[in-house]
């Protein structure tokens, strides 16, 4: 295990080399949040409610997205498929460690880096915005959501990793990565709360794993999921994590037989 610990420390040191990138991450989310607030403020000028949401609850939903995203966002498919295609994973394959374990550690290190920078800013900004918009957010619900987020992160990680490992078969996995990001934006609850869609579509969403990445923890943070429902959904989430974990193992094992180790 010590090898993964040392890798985590080195990976952290490496991330800190990219301070500029950290700032751009932050700016990107800030601009996104401000424009979403503008859009919903405009919508509520002529409406008092949209579906089951009033102005306060919709704003709190979108303010929670970057905070939850700091836990559940995963970006393995942004770089790993290219590494497979260019043969850059060769030096990892010939080393006595688990490549999946290594990617996990590296992803965790990115999370820690983002955390140390983002979370304090988000908490302060969230507090100020909550006061300004008179939002009702409770610490206990936030804590529950944080706990669930650990598993949302695991699920997102294995979904993204499965996409990445499919690069062994599809040389151009870029479009697949884009497709999954569109799916998560829509089916995960990033673009809009999933309970705004009609009943039939909502049933379809409930068969898919994507809602656990954003929508489910946000609703818990808002205090809108009853405890027995949390437990039921949580169990389902664990099953999905297991499914994608096994899928990743299968893809890795068989993908290596397809690996071309090109580029040299």
């Amino acid at each position: 295990m010590k090898k993964y610990w040392v890798d985590l420390k080195i990976s952290l040191a490496n991330n800190l080399e990219y301070r500029g990138q950290l700032f751009v991450w932050f700016l990107n989310e800030f601009v996104g949040l401000v424009s979403t607030i503008f859009i919903w403020t405009a919508i509520f000028r002529t409406n008092t409610s949209v579906g089951t949401y009033n102005f306060q609850s919709i704003i709190s939903y979108f303010i929670l997205i970057p905070l939850i995203g700091a836990f559940t966002g995963v970006f393995v498919s942004d770089y790993f498929p290219r590494k497979i295609k260019n043969g850059e994973i060769s030096s990892d394959i010939v080393k006595p460690y688990s490549v999946t374990g290594l990617i996990f550690v590296d992803t965790v290190s990115v999370k820690i880096t983002q955390f140390t920078i983002k979370v304090p800013i988000y908490l302060v900004a969230g507090y100020l915005l909550a006061n300004y918009f008179r939002l009702e957010l409770y610490f206990t619900h936030l804590l529950e959501a944080m706990f669930v987020c650990i598993f949302s992160f695991l699920l997102h990680f294995f979904i993204d990793l499965a996409i990445s490992y499919s690069a062994f078969w599809f040389q151009e996995v870029w479009s697949l990565g884009l497709l999954i990001s569109v799916i998560i934006t829509v089916f995960g609850g990033l673009a809009f709360p999933l309970d705004l869609v009609p009943e039939g579509v909502r049933t379809l969403f409930s068969f898919l794993p994507f809602r656990f990445i954003f929508y489910f923890p946000i609703k818990i943070a808002q205090g809108q999921v009853p405890p027995e429902m949390i437990l039921k959904e949580f169990f389902q989430m664990l099953v999905w994590i297991g499914v994608f974990f096994l899928l990743c193992r299968l893809l890795w094992k068989n993908g290596l037989k397809k690996y071309g180790a090109y580029g040299n």
């Binding site: 890798d7 080399e17 060769s90 071309g260 180790a261």
Partner: protein, 334 residues
């Protein structure tokens, strides 16, 4: 399987094949559009039925033109590629199984690929490799000290990798590759792009490592100097097939059926006189180089001394570069 070096070869390759399916795309936009709907694939035989064994401590040169299958073979031996057919065992393991005990005892260095963390000093990668390979601290410190002395990079350990020169980076790659003292070491073009002095230093390092650790090393290189200085045995591979596997001297004897007679003349002579002795490779007074069949070399040398006014005469084997070119092109070595 338990590996016993006294009964088994360190590397055993039997009828190894590695075929690729390659998409044949026609040129231009029209070709790209056509490829959207139907694609033609052809099989490329990168490695086609080769067999050889290597014993402990052997340092073997793997030689062939570009695309001959050298690197593909190394990748199959290190577990990077899954063979299409045939059997490979290294230290008693099937490389593709990637067993921890196997991976701990091997290393592969590919000249243009790096395992070093680009934005961090090389020492960070070495420390990480120490943990990955579970090298005891004392052994790690001793090995690191020896290697950095040998390659003269002690003062560069804390410099970010991206700020190192190509040669310095290659040295660091070598250290990262051998910090765990591998028993089998695959080196793919380790001296590529380096200047002559640096090439010499790396060669010395490989030689010392081989002798000190009794490591089995396979080296591919385009530089004949690497092979000449390091390898007693060479394996020639062309179009995926093994064409020669024996000592360097045997290669010269087998392929080149002639020797080179170099004469320094005291007085200019007619070309026809020289042609009576053998094939004239070079004549620029006072130097003459003649190509003469092995069995005739003594007679023709004696004849040259008797019939010409010579101040010096030497008999040499043809250059290894020329012999190898002869193998691959079918043209006579000069």
């Amino acid at each position: 399987m338990v590996y016993n070096w006294w009964v088994m070869a360190v590397v055993e390759v039997n009828n190894l094949k590695k075929y690729y399916k390659v998409h044949q795309k026609e040129e231009g936009v029209a070709g790209s559009l056509k490829a959207l709907f139907s694609r033609k694939y052809t099989d490329v035989k990168a490695v086609d039925d080769i067999s050889f064994n290597l014993d402990e401590g052997e340092l073997v040169g793997f030689i062939g033109p570009n695309g001959a299958g050298k690197t593909t073979t190394l990748k199959c031996l290190s577990g990077l590629l899954y063979p299409s057919a045939g059997e490979v065992t290294v230290l008693g393991y099937k490389p593709f199984d990637r067993k921890t005990n196997f991976l701990k005892q091997i290393s592969i260095i590919m000249g243009q690929k790096n395992q070093l963390w680009w934005d961090l000093p090389a020492i960070e990668t070495f420390n990480l490799n120490k943990e990955i390979y579970e090298v005891p601290t004392k052994q790690y410190q001793e090995t690191l000290s020896q290697l950095t002395d040998m390659l003269e990079v002690k003062n560069l350990l804390k410099v970010q990798v991206r700020k190192l020169s190509l040669g310095e980076r290659m040295k660091m790659e070598l250290i990262a590759g051998v910090i765990h003292s591998p028993k089998v070491f695959f080196l793919d073009e380790p001296t590529i792009g380096l200047d002559v002095i640096m090439q010499k230093k790396l060669r010395q390092f490989i030689k010392d490592y081989n002798q000190k650790y009794k490591a089995t090393i396979i080296l591919t290189s385009h530089y004949m100097d690497d092979v000449k200085e390091l390898c007693k045995r060479v394996i020639l591979i062309d179009k995926g097939r093994l064409v020669f596997d024996n000592g360097l001297d045997e290669l010269i004897h087998k392929v080149a059926n002639h020797k080179l007679l170099t004469i320094a003349l005291d007085k200019p002579v007619d070309m026809s006189q020289l042609e009576e002795l053998g094939e004239v490779v070079e004549y620029s007074y006072p130097k003459v180089v003649l190509k003469i069949k092995r069995e005739d070399i003594i007679d023709q040398s004696t004849k040259a001394i008797q019939s010409l006014q010579v101040s010096d005469i030497t008999v040499e084997e043809p250059k290894i570069e020329d012999v190898i070119r002869e193998v691959f092109t079918g043209k006579d070595a000069a």
